[in-house]
């Protein structure tokens, strides 16, 4: 349960999950932020203004239809709790903020990990890039990995193979 260990359950995820149809169209942002943390960088990071928050402590609401999949919110989120999801060419694509070094390279085969760090499938690094954070000065690296499409809601991290 999320109150016990901080890891969202399927019930939590359903409250912020985009539809499969939307994931097929182009990348869409999904947040996994369910606690009333006083925090608003995601709201200000979105150039399309599709993230809203009633008060500083509310959880964000992402308008999936308006989302352009630019990834700036992924780079801005202090909790590393926003991901870009896309279903394309029979693969699930997940873009996540990656604050580790050295960075992987495109084409690299890695292990896809679920929210408890358990290896659930093989994944491939598709793209590695960086975007500015909310202050426009710092950069956050983003990594896009591809997994079997049925794993798109499971995999949220990866482990490199040495």
């Amino acid at each position: 349960m999320i109150e016990v260990d901080g890891v969202p359950t399927m019930e939590d995820l359903k409250t912020s999950m985009p539809t499969k149809e939307r994931m097929h169209k182009k990348p869409v942002a999904m947040h996994e932020c369910y606690q009333d943390i006083p925090c608003d960088p995601c709201v200000l990071s979105c150039p399309a203004k599709c993230i809203t928050m009633e008060t500083l402590v509310s959880t964000p609401k992402i308008n999936h239809e308006a989302c352009t999949g630019c990834g700036l919110c992924v780079a801005a989120c202090p909790g590393i709790a926003i991901f870009l999801l896309e279903l394309k060419d029979n693969r699930g694509l997940i873009t996540l903020a990656y604050e580790f070094a050295p960075l992987p390279g495109p084409g690299e085969v890695v292990d896809g990990l679920d929210r408890h760090g358990k290896e659930v499938c093989e994944a491939k690094v598709e793209k590695v890039y960086s975007l500015p954070g909310i202050d426009k000065k710092t950069k956050t690296s983003l990594v896009r990995i591809s997994v079997p499409p049925e794993k798109i809601m499971e995999v949220r991290f990866f482990r490199r193979r040495e």
Partner: protein, 102 residues
């Protein structure tokens, strides 16, 4: 115990390497870093012994609050090595007692 060379966010600008002695042995550290940091980077973790039972003590708080890292430096005892900057040629010894002031 090692120096960090690869880091996703921080960069550690290179500092001048200096030689100093620990228990008579010549070792290296970076000028200006805390003596305790230089010792740890060189794999040394025992800094003093407790007064009565002579148990090994290393650093604990690393910001000068706890007194676990007191060592004899250039003859002066009770030096808080976690906040004292390293200088070339310093003579650092494990403190084994309450410290004798000279």
């Amino acid at each position: 115990m090692r120096r960090i060379t690869v880091h996703p966010i921080l960069s550690f600008p290179p500092k001048k390497k200096v030689k100093f002695t620990f228990e008579g042995q010549v070792i290296e550290g970076l000028e200006g870093e805390p003596i305790a940091a230089a010792l740890v980077a060189d794999g040394i973790y025992k800094m003093r012994e407790s007064i009565n039972l002579h148990r090994p003590r290393g650093f604990f708080c690393a910001i000068g609050n706890c007194s676990s890292c007191l060592m004899v430096v250039d003859g002066t005892p009770n030096v808080r090595t976690c906040i004292t900057p390293l200088k070339e040629g310093m003579k650092v010894e494990v403190q084994k007692d309450k410290g004798v002031l000279r």
